[in-house]
Symmetry: C2
Subunit: 607 residues, 2 copies
């Protein structure tokens, strides 16, 4: 949906709104951290989020990828910045096509910063030299498909500002005419440069209206978070800072806490003033940080922490209005450690099951596109790190060591986990039981049963319990003990009779080709793995397992041996061959203990 | 569906089948017992059941009512016997119309026994004198609507049998011609008279085929259960008993157990022999008893007790193939003590929810027809008993006494319960906790909060547990404590603040008109009341509560004050006026404790 349409709806309903801006992190770790932060921030219901443009080459691709994932994985209406810097028309075409393929409908069109190593903007061959031409080009090539947003400068564009007051006045008037041209060419929404003088912004809006710019104008709010950052940004953007603000920041120069607190105070005061004076909504420059932005919005009254939905066992359920996944309330347990992969792979589905899983596999669309896995897990940087922490295994014992180290929390990397630890918050395992679980899991590894997913039982755990709990307060959550591991054909033969002799266990085992499947789960049957009961609600069945989803997952799980691990080594190398052979000959085994009211079951799998 | 179509399907699939015959009990208690027995028997999957005809007047109506309830309440494909005895054409018309209204499509057309006080059959004025004419009449008036079954006599009709062997041979030949005529007139299925000589039956089938009777012929199997019964039936039906059988029965004449055991042995032997010699299925004359018939079927291999679905908390889920309710897996908790009323009132629904209740009220059709309530609860006999055990209350204290006596298990009657005790098996309350619950319930009565439904909490009770458990083995069942009671407006005012101050309670209260509703349940919200978890299954949410179903139930609950209690007394009498005034001024209150993991909550309602 176009952001402008969502804004018009809000305005028509007399409701204020807010949005967050993010930028593409430079490291993989930064990207991982951003996803978690974004998920928490989006839970508060921004009307949209935007992501700035990492101009040129791989950064451009990374931005397109981030934007696609924001739209389809975080499920927030996403606006991607697009600039002219280093972007010849064909690069723009590629980017626009990719945006459409990812289902994005919103662009913030900018000229962009000067290319690296240049002081002033340089027009690339075959490219454009200003945002106006970019807006025109998008409209020419894609008609009305995209919602287009353009930048507004309450104090004129910084490049046009000098020490000459009269020249600045003229620059300001010119910038209004230029803005009018951008809107006339197809811009439907204006977001402004950051500012600290609210009256300056309000005058800007008035001046825009005077030259017949009628679209919504959103103030760009940049919370003051650090002294250095504030100085850098206001200097770079040539933003006039009111004396009082400057004085306060200077007075607290060496007190980080005080600067941050003042930033929140000031931000809240500014936002309240703007909203009280006709501003329809706020655009928060988050700088990828959540605390200041959320604190300001809370002060303004946008955020009521008591009303933020508590996460499901797999993380937050997106609550914003455009989210197809809003009612989603059940998932296969297999993606517990790869929730992003699950969301990504099911992004083309039209509807998601709300509590029962039965029949869901027929309605869900699982993408076969391995792009997500590769981009997420195996950038060159990550690959180098993987080689470092996993070494070059040449024996099964070497592989066992990699698993042991992961479960000892020594490496933080395993191909089958998006998380750096199996026993973290995401998996909802009691911290107190971590040690016991760790022992049992390491015993599995020693027995050459290589675990990729371990969920400990939960029995009527109050939903408010930190780490373990989920869902609204006053409830009780449950989880059957569940473990999934790779096993050699020989190990499976030894194991199967043990599994078959325990009717309280549900097990499934398959090889990579799917030619040999062993299970005691009835055809079409679905087994509940976790659920919760809450006052005034039906039973929420959060995770399940069934043969159909296990088969889909098994393909992914086996593929990870190859694409995410074996590919770290040269093709034909000993390591590569070992991992390939494990992938093609070993079994993936899933075991769930239906006797969750009693003690943990891991030892019973081994016994 | 027509029984003959179901039989043809089975025959085409090469599957044997069985059916049960019942007769209309003479007493209300007998009817109640039959329903429970029938539910258990139907759980084994008979292809259909039939009910014999209680000829003439009120018995006829009772049979029509029973047949309708078998079809719509027990949800078994039902065949009703219809005879010519005392049935002029207009009475037949009425009966046939009523059958169609109840959705029945199957009739067993018979001449019937001589009317009471007669030795020989007497044709009533305007009626018919033989089954053939009845078959013709049904076809003439209702075309192909009904599936028609007729009776076959492997030894000729008893009335035609004499001591003259040659005459008997002729009678047998004549009876075959007559049977051919019945089939030609529209009979599609033959069920035989009881017999104990299997070869006689097989010869009868052969003889039928010889005169071109091609429809399925089902042997009527009457298990020997008592010496007296066996003698009476074989004498009355003039059935030839092989010498060996007669000798064995005579030898065990005084040993009831031995007779029964022999009856099962013999029945199983007969049935196996018949099936092995081309008989497609077995028709069991149950005589309204379950043990012998089920034991025989088990020996024959029709019944595997380990595969019979365990009941849901509200009783069995019908498993036979025609049952629309087969997948039904959730109901509002309010009908806990009136499950038959619930099934009856929802009989016109096209589909039933399988686990989630949300939105179900929009899809379910609740009949407003109070017929069920009246016929079930208030025959004249029951009314007399009610007056006896309830007396003629003239004060609220008198009414309280009626409730106390019910909960002390002294009376076994309360308008809001189909059961004779609140704490019986049906409600799944732990027998050991009965005493504690009784005390708390009596305290409610003393506080003038008149309970009509009390469910104690269940917390991870193993599903196999007698009384408390339900569903397949290896599971755990749960129930939130739940109580429903009538309260005076004053009592409600005192109570409401207490309810409001306990966020772990879900409450709803309404008056008879529905003009004043108090609740803390969100609009459209559904609260789980009982559920179970089972190996290899999704969470089964058996009972729920929501405002929409509470409103439907409240109408029924308030109506019962009038139709089932006040109507026991003369209109305008003190008792009638008291009950009417309670009905129109008091409130129905439902309270559920969402903290089911902790101790029982009844005292907290009072506190």
């Amino acid at each position: 949906m176009k952001v402008i349409d969502k804004i018009n709806q809000k305005v028509a309903a007399g409701q204020h709104f807010f949005s967050f801006e993010f930028f593409p992190p430079k490291t993989e770790e930064g990207v991982d951290a951003l996803w978690e932060r974004m998920e928490r921030m989006v839970a508060h219901g921004p009307i949209f989020c935007d992501i700035t443009w990492g101009a040129g080459g791989s950064t451009a691709n990374a931005t397109l990828d981030l934007a696609g994932k924001m739209q389809n994985m975080v499920n927030i209406e996403t606006m991607m910045h697009l600039t002219c810097t280093n972007m010849p028309a064909e690069s723009l075409d590629t980017a626009l096509t990719k945006l459409r393929e990812s289902g994005l409908e919103n662009i913030l069109a900018l000229r962009g910063d000067p290319p690296k190593g240049h002081d002033r903007f340089v027009t690339v061959e075959g490219g454009f030299s200003c945002a106006l031409d970019l807006v025109k080009y998008i409209r020419k090539t894609h008609g009305d498909y995209f919602g287009i947003c353009v930048a507004g400068y309450p104090e004129a564009h910084p490049e046009t500002l000098t020490d000459d007051q009269a020249a600045n006045e003229k620059a300001y008037t010119d910038s209004l005419s230029y803005l009018k041209a951008k809107v006339d060419a197809g811009g439907q929404l204006i977001i402004t440069q950051l500012f600290y003088d609210c009256d300056r912004f309000l005058k800007f809006v008035k001046d825009c209206r005077a030259v017949d710019i009628q679209c919504p104008i959103l103030p760009g709010i940049m919370p003051i978070m650090t002294y250095g950052g504030f100085k850098r940004m206001t200097g770079f953007c040539k933003v006039k800072v009111p004396q009082e603000i400057n004085d306060t920041v200077e007075a607290n120069k060496d007190n980080e806490e005080a600067i941050k607190a003042y930033g929140v105070d000031l931000g809240a005061k500014m936002c309240k003033y703007l909203l009280a004076n006709g501003t329809p909504g706020l655009h928060m420059y988050s700088l990828n940080m959540e605390k200041s932005a959320l604190a300001i919005l809370e002060r303004v009254g946008f955020i009521d922490n008591s009303k933020v939905p508590r996460p499901m066992p797999w993380g937050f359920v997106p609550m914003h209005s455009c989210g197809l996944r809003r009612g989603e309330a059940v998932r296969p347990v297999f993606w517990s450690n790869r929730p992003k992969s699950y969301v990504w792979r099911t992004k083309d589905s039209q509807a998601f099951p709300t509590s029962r899983w039965e029949g869901a596999m027929a309605r869900l669309t699982f993408s076969d596109d391995p792009t997500f896995m590769q981009i997420h897990s195996y950038s060159e940087g990550r690959r180098a790190k993987a080689q470092e922490v996993w070494g070059a295994p040449t024996t099964v014992a070497d592989v066992q060591r990699v698993f042991s180290q992961f479960y000892k929390n020594e490496t933080g990397m395993l191909p089958w986990s998006e998380f750096s630890t199996q026993f973290g918050i995401k998996n909802g395992t009691a911290l107190s039981s971590l040690e016991a679980a760790q022992g049992a899991v390491l015993a599995l590894v020693d027995a050459s049963l290589l675990p990729i997913n371990v969920l400990l039982r939960k029995f009527a755990v109050p939903s408010e319990t930190p780490v373990l709990g989920w869902g609204p307060p006053g409830g009780q959550v449950y989880q059957k003990g569940h473990v999934e591991f790779f096993a050699s054909p020989e190990a499976l033969q030894t194991l199967l009779p043990k599994l078959q002799s325990q009717p309280s266990l549900t097990y499934m085992a398959t090889n990579a080709s799917g030619s040999d499947i062993n299970t005691n789960l009835q055809d079409g049957a679905v087994n509940a793995v976790s659920w919760g009961t809450f006052p005034g609600k039906e039973v929420v069945q959060a995770t399940v397992e069934d043969l159909a989803s296990f088969k889909v997952w098994a393909k992914e799980a086996f593929e990870l041996w190859r694409s995410d691990w074996a590919s770290c080594y040269e093709s034909g190398s000993k390591s590569s061959e070992l991992l390939e052979s494990l992938c093609s000959s070993w079994y993936l085994v899933s075991v769930t203990d239906n006797q969750y009211t009693k003690g943990d079951f891991l030892p019973s799998v081994l016994a």
